[in-house]
């Protein structure tokens, strides 16, 4: 655990010494159902933050709100001091905050290396008129390919580079999606259930990759159900239930918080419901 969290109180909405993301009063409801109602939320820069909670807690919706894929009824949230209210997902990604998806979105009928190239930002050949003149973009294309090569080797996908992404296994797709997100050199990467459907043999290397990203100075926020993973790699854990943040704290202690146990197991899990007791 990093020292950055030493002075952070273990309570919901705790302020962080150096927040990269700040959200305030974010509220999203679908008809009568309140999916997300977060009063205050901060993510510490250069740290791994886990967002956990029981099914239906609003984690994924909150994730979508933070990345622009969904719009809240009200609330404000900032990235690096800039407000992201009303910003499109594409602009948020260009600002340096990229995400992956719970249901992996590998681009099936494109090769692995083309998937990677697509991830690179600010490609001059992505303009229609410049695309017509290969001389303008071919040099950049080589740079991008070299960069993709480094990442593919690191993520053990180099042998697969010319295969269609659709032929990869579920775990390899997760790796590809993460590697592709890294092509744009994001400051922050948001992973939606990176372990879902991944074969246990790949889990360890995925975990190592995430820790490596932090060592490189990136900020990571991830949603996860796998408590083993949360305990192993996260610096800070935020627990959501029924759309609200109910607890925050370091992974070693947050699960013993009574509010968290109530959320996961029900508020009366200790109560003896047998007839004798009453």
């Amino acid at each position: 655990m990093t020292d950055a969290f030493a002075s952070v109180p273990h309570e919901p909405g705790a302020p962080k010494p150096d927040p990269i993301v700040t959200a305030h009063g974010v509220h999203r409801h679908f008809g009568g159902l309140t999916a997300v109602d977060v009063e205050h939320f901060e993510v510490q820069r250069h740290a791994i933050t886990a967002l956990i909670g029981p099914n239906g807690a609003g984690k994924s919706t909150f994730f979508n709100l933070l990345t622009g894929f969904d719009k809240p009824q009200h609330g404000e949230w900032m990235f690096n001091g800039h407000s992201l209210v009303g910003t499109s997902p594409a602009k948020i990604a260009r600002a340096g905050k990229v995400r992956t998806f719970q249901l992996t979105k590998a681009l099936n009928r494109m090769t692995v290396v083309e998937n990677m190239r697509l991830g690179a930002a600010q490609q001059s050949g992505e303009n229609f008129f410049r695309a017509l003149v290969p001389g303008i973009w071919s040099a950049q294309e080589k740079e991008i390919t070299a960069k993709a090569e480094v990442l593919l080797k690191r993520f053990k996908l180099w042998e697969k580079r010319d295969d269609y992404a659709g032929s990869l296994s579920g775990g390899q797709r997760k790796l590809l999606e993460m590697a592709r997100a890294l092509m744009s050199d994001p400051e922050m990467i948001m992973l939606d259930e990176p372990m879902a459907g991944v074969n246990p043999a790949l889990t360890e290397s995925l975990l190592d990759h995430i820790v490596e990203l932090k060592d490189e100075g990136k900020t990571i926020l991830f949603v996860e159900h796998d408590m083993h993973m949360v305990r192993r790699i996260s610096d800070w854990v935020v627990v959501m239930a029924e759309g609200k943040i109910i607890a925050e704290g370091p992974p070693q202690t947050v699960m013993s918080n009574p509010a968290v146990q109530d959320a996961y197991l029900g508020a009366h899990h200790d109560t003896d419901l047998s007839e004798d007791a009453s």
């Binding site: 979105k105 009928r109 697509l118 992505e126 290969p134």
Partner: protein, 324 residues
Amino acid sequence: MDLLLDSINELFAPATAAFALAAIGLNFHFGLTGLLNMGHAGFMLLGMYGYAISTSRGAPIWLALVIAIVVAALFGLLLGWPTLKLRGDYLAIATISAAELVRYLGRSNTLQSLTGGSTGIRGNDFKFTFEELSPFPDENITFLFWTRHGSLSSSWWLVLVAWIAVALFALLYWQLARSPWGRVLKGIREDEDAVRALGKNVYSYKMQALVLGGVIGALGGVLWALGGSVQPDSMGRPTTFWIWTLLLLGGAATVLGPIVGSMIFWMSLVLIKGLASAFIPSSVLSPVEIEPFSLVLVGVTLMCLVIFRPQGILGNKRELAFND
């Protein structure tokens, strides 16, 4: 033998080139971007009207072409503006009805003075600017086994221009499909949210593809009109479906698929028609019935192709395995 020559003649006929060009436009929509444009004939018809009306009002050929392009581009913008933010099916519904709308407007009595109503615009009213440019002599010319006029209607001049246009746009497709621009479109075809998450403006790219493909379709329409006349009813839903058929037949998302598809489609139509009239006695099928019968046969052949070779003639079978 005559039948064989007729079929080969159909291979390079201007109509084949016109449909190949329109199919290249649709290939930008569907093959590259995954847009379901079910109203391609509407783009073609607008191109025809834009070209024919402006020429008959005295516009020089370059201006008439620019007008055809601009009209189709505006149509694309108008169609894409409300629908491209929605799921793909909405574009399909909007395009099919908008194309019908164009046809009904064109053939309505209110616009008779402009579009000629349901009879359309006579070829002589708008083909002269193109025909005057012909470098060939003004007479029937026989080249190898085939005779065509040098400059009028379905002439050698139109054959030459039409296939040059097809070749240029096939090159354009090839160049764009292998560029980073084309890569974004392919990404959108596979999963637009993934592309959005990578920081690309999906809406803008879809709009660019829709407009570009529509403009190419309009130019295909102009080629078609230059071989005959502007007939609103020749650009109804069947035309859109034919273009879809020959695109899928040749292989979507390939450079030569639209061209090969168009050639095979038109050739087999002539071949089957010829064979049917040669070998089926008129007591079984009267000459009037031959035409629909041959269309049925073409339909069956195409169904077989799609069942046994779903990726089209030039398509890549490997890609199909990941179709979800």
